[in-house]
Subunit: 344 residues, 2 copies
């Protein structure tokens, strides 16, 4: 018998998730059935979309039920196998959530090659966040050489990839982040053309100065006041892939007025904007093979760099998740739940 | 010397345009130069976009300057010609605005064939409003057979064409209008599948009942509470061509809260919506020839019907325009400024 320690949703959070909204449970795992594997969690990915899964509100995926283990992408080691497709010791990408061990169908895992790339990247630049950036920017944003691409949360795994892919495509990349050290990293580490700190008192003026030709693609992943400021810089026929709205995720009611929707629709009309929401899964059939090939190449040739923010221990998951929603992370947020055997 | 009576913008309206925002001026027209024609206005088109032209705010076209004649599409008779391309007696489409006579370059007019269609239709179903419906619905909305298309201001020249073209393409058409007689006309005259009166106390329930499979295309030309109600009915991957926002045109400031923008962006994200503003001129190069051929055919075979709301006399222009913004017209709003020689 293997036991697993799980973080289960105990109540639906109102506003920022509290410790009392979750419970830690240690429980026995069932015996493996044919085709299943026993997985030990190495890395757990923390992503903003998880806030939506904690709520009962209609979203693009079913909510986590109260009493269930919180969902999430993981990189795991195969400890036992009753599938010919997976061997003990294999490192796999899985979706086993906030827990230390899990039983899963082998077919719901993807085997990773630790020689090709660090295994944690399967949750970041070579995983869902990287693909979100790739698909949203290229399929919806369609940046042209010489155009300006703006993105917020720009040191995050999605934002940093958006800016760097924009550069690969010949566009100008302007990143928005929430701390001076993040802004420095945008320029020095990720090669953005300009960086703006949205916590600066002169944010709007700095945004205008760093987008002298306006903005042709705004990759929207935060909304709120940052989104409003970028909207004022949009050019005619600009494209706005809407990937996330972190600024609103903890909101408990519609904010006080005035109502900004009429002005937003007015901008859509007068500028002939394209605003398009998307979930990366829509583009898997058409773009995922290209993504894996392109992104691996860009990492290899140095066009795309990435940064990870790794916290050790499942116990720290919730505090790390709150920090993610508040922008306290710096790079792709990961919890190292157990030892990474590929690191010497 | 020919004199013309003009309606000039005297002040930028605040809210609903007032009589004092305009002045009537009678003035001499200049002699014709080479290539010019003297035009007598027969029909003046009144369209919601004109409210935007009265304001100094950034829009998709330059504002009318205070002191200038209000702009607008017209159907005119050629009274004198110094162009080999136009003969006296020709009926032409022009853009000579709110006045009884005008001098224009012959090349800025398009000759109409009174035998092919009533000349007033060049300002409606076969003109800019019809093309707005055609291009926005087909290039952006892309209704598929069996899908549901919803449109408000549905007895207007754009809305009625949207619903009828949707039917031609095999979609279900649901029209929203503001009076019982308009709703009856949607069913009996324009062949919509369902009609809903947005002034009904049970509007939201009726909208839900008449869109049991949700809404796949919402042709947005009003916004406001009607737009908000339809947004709640949108299906995943729905398309929203944004063509106009009549509900907001007279607004003098952002409405009181709560702020509806976060919820709207939330819908865009969770439903993977495409919201796309447009001005019909964008699609002239790619779609206008097809439009003229298709629409003439649909009128000829009875697939598309149209209704005009003709008011006589330039003196009545402003009151008619205020009625248009308030939804008091019923069909394409036209002012018959002078005698129509093609009507027996």
């Amino acid at each position: 018998m293997t036991t697993t320690t799980q973080i289960r949703l105990a109540a639906r959070p109102v506003g920022e998730p509290q410790d009392t909204d979750f419970e830690f449970v240690t429980t026995d795992l069932p015996e493996l059935a044919d085709g299943q594997v026993l997985l030990r969690t190495i890395y757990l990915s923390l992503d903003p979309y998880m806030r939506g899964r904690m709520s009962a509100a209609k979203s693009y995926a079913e909510p986590v039920e109260v009493g269930d283990v919180m969902v999430g992408g993981t990189v795991c080691e195969v400890m036992e196998s009753r599938s010919p497709e997976r061997a003990v010791g294999d490192i796999v990408l899985a979706y086993t959530g906030w827990q230390t061990y899990a039983v899963a169908g082998a077919r719901h895992t993807r085997k990773l090659d630790p020689q090709a790339a660090p295994i944690s990247t399967a949750l970041g630049v070579l995983g869902m966040p990287g693909f979100t950036a790739y698909a949203g920017l290229l399929a919806i944003g369609r940046p042209q050489p010489g155009e300006t691409v703006a993105v917020a949360a720009a040191t995050g795994p999605v934002g940093s990839a958006v800016g760097q892919i924009a550069k690969v495509k010949g566009a100008r990349a302007v990143g928005i982040a929430g701390r001076p050290d993040k802004c420095r990293a945008l320029i020095e580490e990720f090669g953005f053309d300009a960086a703006v700190d949205h916590r600066s008192e002169s944010f709007r003026e700095e945004l205008a100065e760093t987008t002298p030709d306006g903005v042709d693609v705004y990759f929207e992943n935060v909304a709120g006041p940052v989104g409003a400021a970028v909207t004022r810089r949009l050019n005619k026929f600009a494209r706005v892939p809407v990937c996330g709205l972190v600024a609103n995720y903890n909101a408990t009611q519609a904010p006080e007025g005035p109502d900004q929707l009429p002005a937003y629709l007015g901008a859509i009309l007068t500028l002939s904007l394209t605003v398009r929401g998307f979930i990366q899964s829509e583009f898997v059939p058409t773009h995922h093979d290209d993504f894996l090939r392109d992104m691996a190449g860009w990492i290899a040739d140095g066009s795309v760099r990435y940064r990870e923010d790794v916290v050790d221990g499942l116990d720290n998951t919730l505090e790390t998740f709150r920090g993610l929603l508040a922008g306290r992370n710096f790079g792709k947020s990961l919890v190292r739940v157990g030892t990474d055997p590929t690191i010497a």
